[in-house]
């Protein structure tokens, strides 16, 4: 455990400035989106009643209507899109975290391949780094969403129930990264993130083990894992079927990926 935490510390040191920059982009993006939402709403009300734009216009009933019609939904949708991009950047780092060791001849690369170190510790430390990066961005977005909705709530005078009521039917129809329901959150935002990282890592292990053919095999492994996930989603007709299919698939995919990674890491991975 201590070894893993040491390696995690090394990994986090290498990325924390980039992570802070990413969070900065996320926060700035949220401020811009919320600002634009309020700005647009104020302008729309001002145009409709032919008066000068002012933040006090947000207290009018028309603000509720305009926000309800599309502005709040657009705001949530755009902030989630931004979060989705940030998560993609983190997942891309799941590739970078391995290749910078190889090409950069860094300390962790040295620790991985030269020292009598359990290679799986390095694997776990790297996985923890990427997973915690995604969790940090997700948690930040959750906090920002609550803050922005609270701001709008206080400006317009909508109750929490009304905001939830506006969002609920629309949330169902949209693909949001942060799932609004408990099991969905666990399956996608908690376990799904862990699996995504493990699958990408396994793809990297495959690539490193089979040289040039490994690129094709590694990419196929990742695409295959994603394809099966969506295929199962399509095949399952009922909620409990989907939970069962995804549950079994998650366990199987995790075991296969970890088993494959462990074997390749100890027997075939080369520099």
């Amino acid at each position: 455990m201590n070894n893993i935490l040491n390696l995690y510390n090394i990994e986090l040191k290498r990325i924390y400035k980039w992570l802070l920059a990413l969070l900065g982009v996320l926060i700035a993006g949220n401020i811009l989106i919320v600002g634009a939402t309020i700005f647009n709403t104020v302008n729309e009300i001002a145009a409709s009643i032919e008066t000068k734009p002012s933040i006090s216009l947000m207290k009018l009933q028309a603000a509720k209507r305009i926000l309800n019609e599309y502005n709040i939904y657009n705001m949530i949708h755009l902030t989630n899109l931004l979060l989705g991009l940030c998560v993609l950047v983190c997942l891309a780092y799941a590739l970078v975290i391995w290749y910078r060791d190889v090409f950069g001849k860094s300390k962790t690369g040295y620790a991985l391949f030269m020292l009598p170190q359990n290679k799986m510790n390095v694997y776990i430390a790297k996985a923890l780094t990427v997973i915690s990066m995604i969790y940090i961005t997700t948690l930040t977005q959750m906090f920002l969403s609550i803050a922005s909705l609270s701001l709008i709530k206080s400006l317009v005078g909508l109750s929490s129930t009304e905001i939830l009521f506006i969002l609920n039917p629309r949330i169902r129809q949209s693909l949001l990264f942060i799932q609004p329901y408990f099991i969905d959150f666990v399956m996608i935002n908690v376990i799904g993130v862990i699996l995504a990282v493990v699958v990408i890592f396994t793809g990297v292990m495959i690539q490193k083990s089979f040289k040039i053919y490994g690129i094709v095999l590694g990419v196929m492994y990742v695409i295959g894992a994603v394809f099966i996930f969506f295929k199962l989603t399509q095949v399952a007709e009922y909620t409990e079927q989907l939970l069962m299919y995804h549950g079994i698939y998650y366990i199987a995919l995790f075991l296969v990926s970890i088993g494959l990674s462990y074997t390749l890491l100890n027997k075939k991975v080369y520099i």
Binding site: L12, K13, K64, S132, L139, I166, Y181, V190, E240
Partner: protein
Amino acid sequence: MNKKTSKIVLFTTMGLMIMSTIAMGLNIKYDNGLEDISGSKENLDNVNIVYQKKVGAYRTKEVKLSKDDTKVNEFEKALDLHLPFTTFYKEQRDFYSESYSRTEYNYEYEDTIGFINTDRIYGDEILTLEFKVKEKNLKTNKEIEYKLEVTEENPDGKYSAWLGMPIRYNGELYASVIWSDENVESVYSANKEAWINIYKLDLENEKVELIDSKKFKNEDELVQLGYPSFTHNNKYYISKDIFTTTVTGETKVNKSFITYDLETKKFDSTDMEEDMVAGQYYSVDDIEGNVAYISTFNERYNTRTLKISTLDLDNDKFIKENEIYNIEVPEEGYEYNLRDIRCVEGKIYAVINGYEKPDLEEGRDQYNKNYVYVIDKNSKEVLYIGLIKEKLNAEINLDIVLDEEL
């Protein structure tokens, strides 16, 4: 960044993630009960209001409201929208999942259940009906699928066919199919001509035989067949609306049920005495024993009345026609419609949905409210009104179910 800081980052992140997950699990607990508006829940007797609600992609919740209590099953086997909430349909859900969305297409005999899906394949001057029949033996759990076809002439491709209602009678399978011209006239989707074909489906030899047919065509009238239709024992009951325009320009509708008895191989007709207002949608939501209740509840004319006609299926005669029940709604500003109705032992049980009329100034999504009504069928007195506390939209599967069916 030192080791201590990275540890704090890791454990704080994981801790917050776990706490957020737990908070999400504890969050949003909907109030699932039935709020009394007037009268006592005791009037529900052995009738339950059951609904299912999809909560995210992985969970279906089922709520059962009865006179005694409210039972919530947070993880329930999801049922298709078109299937009733009975134990039988829950058990056979996977079998029926492929059937098209009407229970009228299902049939049962001896130890076998089945359904027919009817597809249309348009060709050059022809229309081919493809009957996909699926049967399951409940004793052996063996399922068999059949595909049968019949091709009919279709000059200029102007006819269409639908509603392949099945009946198993004397070991044979029959299907009634409604044909009509596609040149729909008037706002009521009525046709210049329409007819009913009765086909015998020979499953073993995969042959389809037309055994009888009845056509409706009159120069001064428009006809609409099939809304609503049902089967009972060896008989088809297919609604026929004849639309005529009076001298004052008003459209009147004469409604009747065309019956076809597979035993006598004869068409017959059971007329409803009273002319109805055009465009009112009638439905057969309930068949109890040998009586069918044909109901309508239409707010378009601000009547807010429930009309029920009672058809004796033994004699094919209406016992009562268009009995009017005044429905006083608890709240104005809503548009009301009937979601489900059952008539059991002298009482009418109905779920009426109120959809909030859009208010642009208020500026928020419209609320759905669902009220449970119990009405004495004879005295017409409203015995109970209850509000289903949870807000349920039209996508929700809701049913009135008796204790013994659960």
